[in-house]
Symmetry: C2
Subunit: 282 residues, 2 copies
């Protein structure tokens, strides 16, 4: 089955904001995502930035709340924003807990039943979705960047660190950088990956960066009024890991900002310019 459906397409900043649904082989069911095509996409392929959202979010969240399209239209950057997990899986325990299951896929490939048959967001975002985007939208896939927020920041860092030649740029807002060491990871990773912590390391930026650095500066913004800062995020762990691995990292701390999309919206333009520079747009 190759179902691909346009849910809606609307004019935005001279381009097109669309929502789409398709059958994902990787995730064994329908998946949704949003794409913003800037005006320049009408004339030919544009670089593409993937944005991965956090816990509880969908493909609509950053699309509506981040305010990224205005500058993307100016720069000529396609934006792709996927959902955060498969939906309507019917698995026991897949709904009702915002930190695990649907809406909380953690951008990994689950190895434990029943999750392993559907919760494969790592391969979905790193392989299947980019192939679909390249086939259906006017993108220059050789110029791809990846960004994310919180759990999506984890996804962006993991995918970029494991595929350093596939993405030219990576950035994150308030990312989970050490899932092996924080309660969110301690809760979700055993369900998805089992108790062998070696498998957790494949999805832990602090572990990954020690094995393979990213050829470019990683931009991370963190609000100092973020309620998850000290228990779940711990950016100092990534700061230390990058320093030890000789990974270039620009970690900015912002007084007064919390974990919300108001924080993301306040600095999204800086992230777009970070990616644009690496993608040859500025």
């Amino acid at each position: 089955m190759n179902m691909f459906e346009t849910i809606s397409e609307q004019r935005l900043h001279g381009g097109v904001q669309g929502f789409y649904r398709h059958h994902s082989e990787t995730c064994g069911g329908p998946m949704r995502f949003a794409v913003y095509q800037p005006p320049q996409a009408a004339d030919g392929p544009c670089p593409v930035l993937y944005f991965l959202a956090g816990l509880t979010c969908t493909e609509e969240t950053a699309t509506i709340k981040a305010g990224a399209q205005r500058l993307a239209a100016e720069l000529g950057l396609v934006l792709v924003m996927p959902d955060t997990s498969p939906r309507n899986t019917g698995f026991e325990g897949a709904t009702g807990d915002w930190e695990f299951g649907e809406g909380a896929g953690f951008y990994l490939d689950a190895t434990q039943a029943p999750w392993s048959s559907r919760f494969r967001m790592y391969s979905y975002v790193a392989r299947e979705l980019p192939e679909l985007i390249a086939a259906r939208f006017p993108v220059d896939a050789s110029r791809s960047g990846i960004c994310g927020h919180s759990m999506g920041g984890l996804g962006a860092l993991v995918i970029a660190l494991r595929h350093p030649s596939r993405y030219r740029s990576v950035s994150a807002f308030a990312p989970i950088v050490a899932p092996s060491q924080v309660p969110w990871g301690h809760k979700a990773l055993p369900h998805y990956l089992g108790d062998n912590r070696d498998s957790w390391a494949e999805y832990d930026p602090c572990e990954l960066v020690r094995q393979q650095t990213f050829p470019g500066t990683i931009l991370v913004d963190q609000g100092e009024a973020d309620g998850f800062l000290e228990t779940q995020l711990k950016p100092e762990l990534f700061d230390q890991a990058c320093a030890e691995a000789d990974q270039s990292l620009l970690l900015r701390r912002h007084a007064g900002y919390d974990h919300s999309y108001w924080f993301i919206g306040s600095f999204i333009d800086d992230h777009l310019r970070h990616h644009a520079a690496a993608l040859g747009l500025s």
Copy 2:
């Protein structure tokens, strides 16, 4: 009772995005509104722009979807976004119909029972709310502008045309300009105002502009792919009324844009600059 409650305040673009609730004497119950204070407000009073939302919306809609805060922060403009009606009124017929009742106050003072005891959004937006804002927030009320979308565009035009010395600037996105002549008005106005069409004229921009012009250019943006364009909006009627009344009007039609906040977001910066110029900010 002078209940005033801060629901939330969060850092945004160097300023503060807040949501508030208070007891409204005018509307006989609690009302909610949002205020964005730009960074400049920390140093002293700033000009203020009111934004009135349309059918089905709340104080959250434009706050989250319009993307106005980024440029407001740059310009030094306070943004005030009220709810579109009283809530939880308990009146029969007040809920369940998106075109009438709660979420559809039409920014008028109802004269018909039971609506007349609560649905007084005209006086609320034109008098009580500005007094509250002036008392509680760092605004220079002598420099006020008003803007709105659809039903809120109706409200902005009506309030500005009836108080041309109180607002220095007015603009609208896809406004209802002739409620007396379109189905939305034909449905709501008899309930709120009765069948005497003379009373309808007090809330009809096409009628009002013939009696009293606004001392400045009115900016109106309209999408040509707006599904309500031909049946409910009819901007050509306002164009004609303004021409006959010698009212300066800049009516811009935009190919491909619909009635949504994607349309508003695409042109909100133009509106902020329109107001900023009249408010002495540029």
